[in-house]
């Protein structure tokens, strides 16, 4: 695996205890909790602005077997305002904006996530598919439904965390300029 190269934009809160491996770019306003894991195995990961990545959340950039050994290295782009809740595992190919990955859900590496999707608690989504916008997946049987609008952003929670986290954790210094 290549050397770790972590780029952090100003305004992002990345705790030192978060496990970051590979080439990762963190956009401004994004919060990464301690003990979150981000592994850029198959190529770089670029995380957008105002994302919330909670404890024990795992974001892994790992290609499906049939797409490995290709010339160009793919980049996993994660949009803005995404929430990765406690204990979720996300290996999706591409993630848009305003998605919510609820606690303990699993998203496989054949899934393309567009915008405004919600993955319910404990839901496992592995089949190859491109999800429509504003789809929510819920319940033990992973029922799907389409909403009219995107999930509400966690603005209040993020504002609190921006104030709170630096008081109790070591924060990585931003090393990029706008």
């Amino acid at each position: 695996m290549s050397k770790n190269s972590i780029k952090i934009f100003p305004g992002a809160i990345v705790c030192e205890e978060a496990k970051l491996r590979g080439d990762i770019t963190v956009g401004s306003g994004t919060i990464i909790h301690p003990c979150a894991t981000i592994v850029a195995e198959a190529g770089p990961i670029i995380i957008g602005e105002q994302c919330l990545i909670e404890e024990q959340a795992k974001i892994v950039h790992r290609l499906p077997l049939d797409q490995q050994n290709k010339e160009n290295t793919p980049v996993l782009i994660i949009g803005s305002h995404n929430v990765f809740e406690v204990g979720c595992t996300v290996e999706a190919l591409k993630i848009g904006n305003n998605n919510v990955f609820e606690a303990k859900c699993f998203v496989g590496n054949k899934v393309t996530v567009t915008n405004g999707c919600t993955f319910g608690t404990g839901c496992v989504v592995t089949d190859e598919q491109i999800l429509k916008e504003n789809v929510s997946i819920f319940g033990a049987k992973c029922h799907m439904r389409e909403s009219l609008d995107k999930p509400a952003p966690q603005t209040l929670q993020m504002e609190t965390l921006v104030k709170l986290l630096p008081n109790y954790h070591h924060i990585r210094k931003p090393n990029c300029k706008h």
């Binding site: 319910g120 929510s136 029922h143 799907m144 909403s147 009219l148």
Partner: protein, 508 residues
């Protein structure tokens, strides 16, 4: 807890002959017998809404069709809906000081359904006034309900009428001669009018079966199906009156009420379980669970099972009561139980027959009984029998196949009372139980390990479960009598049959 007691490895035979694991059994202290859900009566104690924790009187609940007036559930996933605030700009945009207008809408936190999805307008108040959907079949339903009410009423009248007839002291001449009033009327030529109260209730118009069915819409074949627009079976059955086909017709449903139930022993009609009235309380006023009265048995270890060869089974016995008990292990003896059930059935049939015969001979109205004397009463009223429950449960044969012998150890062993403090006291390991039989291999406070030898039958199949069992006799101390009559606690021997599912035979 359920992961230990849940799998049905060790099960106990209820007095009624059914086999259940210990946590599912009750123990009636008045009868000193085990009871299960099958041999207790369930009664509705209180009706409440699980969301707003409000008690609702049963009459009101019937009126509201057993649904809460304030709480709604999600038509998409059946979880409870919450009210959310949406603030619209100030009521008067030109005046900066005018207060911000708040509106409310319903939203499901689970599947993100909300009332705006189906076009329900936001409400100005938080407590609701959510539009009610009219049931298209409400007239028909009302017709049917009305006619059933009429039937009920007329049957009630008929019953009362019949009663009056029977009680009537004066035996009319027509009754004696067998000439009825209607026959007399016919003879004289007056039209026979039926009794006004016995008028036949008006039945609603019968439903008409129709052959006319809409043609199959073409778009079903031509356009691709979007499964996300179609409702599931659960969603349709949640609203039986409208049964929406597409998700845009899903409307909030009133939450169904829950009940708290109390259980009554069918033999003595006393409660074995009674919850507290408060809907938010999960405690019980009365909880006579067998788990608190009958020694618990668990399997500790078992050496590999080979057919026809003895293997070692170690069981853990726990005394859950505050009183010392002595446990004796006895043979299962299922034949004895079967005989007991048979005898009981025979004696009951005889009793029933006698009862019906005595009733028949005292049948009022027949000429013999009148000539003997009108003051005679049925014999059952004269003899003062104790209060008999309306429904009794007959014990049945224990239907459990046993294919493994247990070598019964000799001698009883003592289990000291439960002491919650002993759990934390390391020094109290020394126990003063003397003369322990040699099959007791370990003991601590109220627990003991017992070693048994089990021999699976020689002709067992490889895929068959090995089941063994024995009777456990323990001394039960009933403090109920002591507290009621200021006497010494009453000790009695209580016997229960226990079955063990030991798993499958090991083959080399």
């Amino acid at each position: 807890m359920s992961y230990i007691t849940g799998p049905e490895v060790v099960s106990y035979a209820c007095t009624c002959g059914l086999i259940k694991p210990l946590p599912k059994l009750y123990f009636c202290r008045h009868c000193s017998q085990i009871r299960c859900s099958f041999c207790v009566c369930s009664e509705v104690d209180s009706i409440f809404c699980g969301k707003c924790s409000e008690n609702i009187p049963s009459a009101e609940a019937t009126m509201k069709k057993n649904r809460c007036a304030n709480c709604l559930i999600c038509p998409s996933c059946q979880q409870e809906l919450s009210t959310r605030i949406a603030s619209k700009g100030p009521a008067n945009p030109t005046d900066a000081k005018s207060p911000i207008k708040k509106t409310y809408y319903l939203s499901c936190y689970f599947c993100r359904w909300n009332s705006r999805d189906v076009g329900i307008p936001d409400q100005p108040s938080a407590t609701g006034g959510w539009p009610q959907r009219d049931n298209v079949h409400s007239h028909r339903l009302q017709d049917v309900v009305d006619s059933y009410k009429q039937i009920m009423l007329s049957q009630k009248h008929k019953k009362e009428h019949d009663k009056k007839k029977k009680i009537g002291k004066f035996v009319s001449y027509t009754d004696r001669t067998g000439v009825t009033a209607s026959a007399l009327r016919k003879k004289i030529g007056i039209p026979d009018t039926p009794h006004a109260l016995l008028k036949k209730p008006k039945m609603p118009e019968p439903a008409v079966a129709s052959n006319d069915v809409d043609e199959l819409p073409e778009h079903l074949i031509t356009t691709p199906l979007n499964l996300m627009d179609i409702t599931t079976v659960e969603q349709r059955l949640l609203q039986p009156e409208s049964q929406p086909l597409t998700v845009d017709k899903l409307f909030p449903v009133r939450k169904q009420l829950s009940i708290k139930k109390s259980l009554r022993c069918r033999c003595c009609e006393r409660n074995v379980s009674k919850p507290e009235f408060n809907p938010s309380s999960v405690k019980f006023k009365i909880q006579l669970f067998a788990y608190f009265h009958i020694p618990e048995v668990r399997i500790v270890s078992l050496s590999p099972l080979v057919e026809g060869v003895p293997s070692e089974l170690i069981l853990k016995f726990t005394n859950p009561t505050q009183h010392q008990t002595t446990i004796t292990l006895l043979n299962l003896d299922l034949a004895e139980q079967e005989n007991y059930v048979k005898e009981l059935t025979v004696s009951e049939v005889a009793e029933c027959l006698e009862h019906s015969l005595s009733l028949q001979s005292k049948q009022p109205g027949s000429l013999t009984s009148i000539s003997v004397g009108s003051g005679s009463q049925p014999s059952s009223l004269l003899s003062l029998t104790p209060r008999q429950p309306s429904i009794t449960v007959k014990p049945r044969k224990i239907e459990q196949h046993v294919n493994c012998d247990v070598e019964m150890p000799e001698g009883a062993f003592v289990l000291p009372p439960r002491d919650d403090a002993a759990e934390y006291d390391e020094s109290s390991d020394v126990h003063n139980v003397e003369h322990d039989p040699k099959h007791v291999v370990w003991r601590k406070s109220n627990k003991a390990f017992i070693k048994l030898l089990v021999v699976p039958n020689a002709n067992l199949q490889a895929n068959q479960d090995v089941v063994c069992g024995f009777s456990m006799e323990h001394i039960y101390t009933n403090i109920l009598v002591a507290t009621m009559e200021n006497k010494q606690p009453q000790k009695s021997h209580h016997r229960v049959r226990i079955f063990f599912n030991l798993g499958k035979i090991t083959r080399e």
